[in-house]
Symmetry: C2
Subunit: 425 residues, 2 copies
Amino acid sequence: MPKAAGKKNAFYAQSGGVTAVINASACGVIETARRNKDRIGKVYAGRNGIIGALTEDLIDTSKESARAIAALRHTPSGAFGSCRYKLKSLEANRREYERLIEVFAAHNIGYFFYNGGGDSADTCLKVSQLSKSLGYPIQAIHVPKTVDNDLPITDNCPGFGSVAKYIAISTREASFDVASMAKTSTKIFVLEVMGRHAGWIAAAGGLAASEDCDLPIVILFPEVPFSQTRFLKTVKDKVKKYGYCSIVVSEGVHDRSGKFLADQGLKDAFGHAQLGGVAPVIANLVRDKLGYKYHWAVADYLQRAARHIASKSDVDQAYAMGKAAVEMALAGKNSVMPTIVRTSNAPYRWKVGEAKLSRVANVEKMMPKSFITKDGFGITKRCRTYLEPLIRGEDYPPYKNGMPKYVQLKNVAVRKKLEKSFKVK
Amino acid sequence: MPKAAGKKNAFYAQSGGVTAVINASACGVIETARRNKDRIGKVYAGRNGIIGALTEDLIDTSKESARAIAALRHTPSGAFGSCRYKLKSLEANRREYERLIEVFAAHNIGYFFYNGGGDSADTCLKVSQLSKSLGYPIQAIHVPKTVDNDLPITDNCPGFGSVAKYIAISTREASFDVASMAKTSTKIFVLEVMGRHAGWIAAAGGLAASEDCDLPIVILFPEVPFSQTRFLKTVKDKVKKYGYCSIVVSEGVHDRSGKFLADQGLKDAFGHAQLGGVAPVIANLVRDKLGYKYHWAVADYLQRAARHIASKSDVDQAYAMGKAAVEMALAGKNSVMPTIVRTSNAPYRWKVGEAKLSRVANVEKMMPKSFITKDGFGITKRCRTYLEPLIRGEDYPPYKNGMPKYVQLKNVAVRKKLEKSFKVK
């Protein structure tokens, strides 16, 4: 086949905290680009996100086999490395943008796919404006991703469904455990989950209980200022009725003055500040005030890396977002983000939509008040209706010798073409 | 079918910390008893372990459908309630034993199946001696269970394989995550696991890395006194080579003087003692001394309740132990425990063996020195050969709406026959 005239290469990078399914989006981008070889050249991945672009540290994904790329679909984390780095405005750091253009031009890059959350959408928006402000033709498409589920316009964010499923299942399992132990031992189980600003992940703990599975779950949301009196009364009532209680606490829970409960000013034996989680704080409070034995867990990275129990809805949507991003680029679009549009709850149906990046960047979608029960400790039916489809379906990775087979790519570097190196701050 | 003369009922109870597969053993006991209805009457379960026997709080398992009993095989935790309660010696508390006999006699119980670890084996041994010491005919069979994997004679303990699988997978997944973040953010991930005396569970973290999956894992075993200098050097070397490092730390890690690292004498803002885990202690140490950003997780109950990713070897063996216990009872045996006998590593083969309870009770099997690498931070090939078959195979529970369908039994109480109640201390 003759090489299409003016065929541009694509840049793809992962940004911010990684998820169980961000690589499924990468898979969607790369496979779709490969299916359109007549119109898109190579897909170069940024090593460690946008930093890879700035430092001309590009990965040639064409060196990976079809099989390796397919395996991204079931591999958690960011296969090319992620970063926490936000581009400043053009006014504040023009040099960064000029450098991007130098790198893109040197490698004939005409498509920019950035896979991340709200901050990354802002980076992507700025890059999308390069053609206008600096006269370099580039189409920038954002691929949504965040366990925080806080991007606007899209019904939900890839990455969230799998965390939600993990937290819902873990809370159910641990609740069964503490129920068994409650007679002579542990009566309280506390699980700390992610979500500093919004309680989406904590809300998923509410799915542990369902119509056919009655469990006492108390949720502490960052949206609800912590009231010790009301919390203790609620826990006491649950223990009175059930004999035990599970508490799902968001890391971002704070009191009325805005002080995080996790920030207890702890000092270790050497006088060093000890950064503990909020779970032990809640557990100790319950023990001190109510006298119940407790256990506590902090899920941390386990929740967002748990590809072994990823939601099928989530995996499918993550892939679809990557695929749609490439299709939008091929349709000549710029400065947009594919979205998930829910068209029906029962049966659950969704389709791919489109949002302008200017409407996405720096906008945080909070959980609606109507999703939290009046007492502040549970989820409403409306919340359940929203959450349930997102955790639906299991999408198990393949296993070998009892362990999931996750791919580690070769990540072959593209030969540098620029003479100057660039130092990121 | 005419009722067999002298057909005795059976008592079954769960004891100590529960596991992802102890109900699979219950399933094995009850299904096998049901298949031998001509020789065994009803199976009465003790509500909350031996306490149910002492207080005549029995559950009639015949009220449960075949389907509900079958579902125990894929349901974590103890379906009848467990307890932490150890019978004293006959000399120290004769009244307890007399009470047991009264309850057993009132309900025509001739078989005693006790599902637990080392302490429970001791309880079972004592009950097995009732026929001799108090002249009551009973056959007591112990069903092995413990995530600690510390029962002697048996090659491994039901419950351990599933925890090991969970820790191995979680460590692999979180390692992939931190690898993605290491360039600009988190370089160290710390996972705290169970195992106060023996490092069996911590060792499972070593399975996260394998021949086809190179990951930097540092394990802190309770068997190896903590040396800060050597630990920090090992972590630093890993970060130098890989850019990041995962640390799996047993809750029981202590220094040369025997002091637990978790016991840091922390005080909260009100001067209350704060019981933190060992994970934040290790994480803070790494930050203070090496300056690396970190994340930490505490798996706690999640690890032993994680039926969603149970090991098939483990589930099969847990069921087999319950089944064998009933068969041993039917063969007229007393004061024994079925065991798992490994007959081949590759392919993995095992069969059911038998151990005298007098050789099991109060004996703790420690991890062999040859399982820990010379530097004290990893597992040897020998350890890997031992562990790998135990996590092999996935045994997924059924799902509904994205959540595992775990059974909650009716647990119908057997009508009490004794006039006197009994108070456990």
